[in-house]
């Protein structure tokens, strides 16, 4: 019979292709950004290319305003996430503790919004923002990001707050706490994992957005990093090492955030999704 150790080994061997499938593109991005043009054009292409150079990185920073793009991404993502989380905390508390017909309907509306494609709202938003004159400026993109972050985050907050028994804040209120006090002193400190999961999820959604940034921003200096990389494809010949280098620049902040929050994220998703 197969004993435990052998079973574990078989398990790992079967998992290796999955890990390879998942990691190989990221590995390629890393390696190719440091490869020279010559090794990129070599045939047959090798997994571990021969020559390494920093040329691509130098070119990326000199030919395109990549630092500006990164700054744009960071500012837009953090501003919109901040606003969305604050709004979502209050909305989630309301949806969780004050259940009447009205708020239950709103809750379903928020949940349904997640299933509505962003492509549906972009046309009217574009016309509206053009009327307001904020096309090609930060507020248009921030408002667009908030549009999908707030319902999603509110619903997540609601399910986290639902997992905390109401008797706790009622106890606090008997001792003289106001409702807002109960929110900030009792409930929020009890689910830091949930809030971190929410922040991470909202940031990932906003950072990786392509459609809104591309439609609402047209000046080269205002682009976010995901859209900016596309400009590398406008040349006659694609400099893949430069493209890979800029992709790496666009990914590192997210991976950093992700690894920071990884543990709380799994815990957060579990209680958020299963507790429907």
């Amino acid at each position: 019979m197969i004993n435990k150790k052998q079973r574990l080994l078989i398990n790992i061997i079967v998992l290796l292709p999955f890990a390879f499938f998942a990691l190989f593109p990221i590995y390629s991005m890393l390696v190719l950004s440091f490869s020279s043009e010559k090794s990129l054009m070599a045939y047959p292409p090798k997994i571990i290319p021969g020559e390494y150079t920093l040329n691509a990185w130098r070119n990326v920073f000199t030919t395109r305003p990549v630092v500006k793009w990164l700054t744009n991404s960071i500012i837009l993502t953090s501003l919109s996430t901040l606003i969305s989380i604050v709004v979502a905390i209050f909305a989630g508390y309301s949806l969780s503790r004050y259940k009447n017909q009205f708020s239950i309907g709103i809750g379903y509306f928020f949940f349904a919004t997640r299933m509505v494609p962003s492509t549906l709202i972009i046309i009217p938003l574009y016309i509206l923002f053009q009327k307001w004159g904020i096309i090609n400026k930060y507020p248009s993109v921030i408002l667009a990001y908030i549009s999908f972050q707030v319902p999603f985050a509110s619903w997540m907050m609601k399910s986290f707050f639902d997992s905390i028994p109401t008797s706790l804040d009622e106890q606090a209120m008997v001792d003289g706490c106001t409702e807002i006090g109960a929110l900030f002193r009792i409930i929020l400190p009890l689910c830091p994992a949930g809030i971190m999961a929410c922040i991470l999820a909202a940031s990932v959604l906003a950072w990786g957005d392509y459609m809104f940034a591309r439609t609402f921003l047209s000046q080269n200096e205002l682009l976010t990093i995901t859209v900016g990389i596309k400009t590398f494809f406008q040349e006659y010949r694609f400099h893949w090492s430069e493209i890979m280098a800029s992709c790496l620049l666009g990914t590192v902040p997210l991976i950093f955030l992700f690894l920071l929050f990884q543990k709380s994220l799994v815990k957060g998703l579990a209680s958020g999704a299963v507790k429907q």
Partner: protein
């Protein structure tokens, strides 16, 4: 109505009494128990007229009014934002779909033309094709993503030591933005120099992934699956951990094989979270824009053009907002149908 003289006894009593009096001063009679008030009256700290009636009436008014206002007040910012950035655009899109709003024909901007846009859409074979492509793409990505996610979750669940490494590596695609994943895969599947093209050509298939029809669909489905299956894995892993081990052990004692255990214990126990994941993944695939746009832009001869790509093309490349809005309304109807399906599934399911 109140007397402030009181004789302190135990610390707990003092806190309770002080809180009680404070709430009475503020009017929060819902937080003051009748027993406490009676005790204070008995001890002579408070004199109240018509104790019962006054307390009851004030308590109800205060409680309901205050709670209702506060509840709505907390919800107002989120509501305002949603109505402004989602509600208004949806209504406006509905409005636009019945009008001619083509920036290339400024003379008829905004004219009401009824369902002409919809008729144009349904009589256009390109639109019908994109409808079919959307369904195929969504279906493939959802099913593939679920199967791969299920496998990964099952394998990950039985690991103990190296679980961390494998979990992180399998979940990493979720952290990569969809657009950047598309850029990377563009290079890997590049026809002259991409490494995956080379591997596939070793097997004998000489394929140009972007310019041929079926391979481009395959490419788009692969990238979308790569991006979306970590979400399924994480959800299923969390769900698997709620199944107690004793059930498996009992089944082993009864002589069940591994396959039987999988189909009779694991899958039924995962049914609720499977529903959630399938629907969420499906809607993500349905509304996905950037992966297809960057990889094929609609594909060789519109082969990989989904509804979202079609809408965006018509709106921001051809500037025909009216026609694009009608496509949007059709997408909205499909989304509403999916939402309705999901609600019904959630209502029917018992979660055990």
């Amino acid at each position: 109505m109140y007397l402030w003289r009181w004789k302190p006894q135990r610390v707990a009593d003092i806190t309770a009494e002080v809180t009680c009096l404070k709430h009475m001063v503020q009017g929060n009679f819902n937080l003051v128990t009748k027993g406490k008030v009676l005790e204070l009256v008995k001890r002579g700290h408070i004199k109240l007229n018509k104790l019962n009636a006054k307390l009851k009436v004030v308590r109800n008014n205060n409680l309901q009014k205050r709670r209702r206002y506060l509840g709505i007040f907390f919800l107002v910012p989120a509501l305002v934002i949603s109505l402004l950035v989602i509600g208004y655009p949806l209504l406006q899109m509905l409005n636009l779909s019945f009008r001619e709003y083509n920036l290339m024909r400024p003379t008829t901007l905004g004219k009401f033309i009824g369902i002409t846009n919809f008729v144009r859409a349904f009589t256009n074979y390109k639109f019908r094709n994109s409808l079919g492509t959307t369904l195929i793409f969504t279906f493939l990505v959802t099913i593939l993503g679920y199967i791969i996610g299920l496998f990964s979750a099952l394998l990950l669940n039985s690991l103990k030591k190296v679980k961390g490494f494998f979990t992180v590596s399998i979940c990493l695609p979720w952290a990569i933005p969809g657009a950047i994943a598309a850029y990377i895969f563009l290079q890997l599947f590049q026809s002259p120099g991409g490494i995956i093209t080379y591997w596939i050509s070793i097997i004998g298939l000489d394929v140009s992934w972007i310019t041929q029809k079926l391979p481009s669909l395959f490419l788009v489905v692969i990238v979308a699956t790569w991006k979306s299956y970590p979400f399924v894995t994480m959800g299923l892993l969390a769900g698997l951990q709620t199944i107690p081990n004793e059930i498996y052990e009992a089944a082993s004692i009864d002589g069940a094989s591994n396959f039987r255990k999988l189909f009779s214990i694991t899958l039924p126990a995962l049914k609720p979270i499977t529903t959630v994941l399938l629907i969420l993944n499906g809607t993500w695939a349905f509304k996905n824009f950037e992966i297809i746009w960057i990889l094929t832009g609609g594909g060789p001869a519109r082969f990989t053009q989904t509804l979202g790509i079609d809408l965006y093309n018509k709106a921001f490349v051809n500037f025909n907002f009216g026609y694009a809005s009608s496509i949007g309304v059709i997408m909205l109807i499909i989304s509403l149908f999916i939402i309705f399906l999901y609600m019904r599934l959630m209502m029917k399911e018992s979660f055990y």
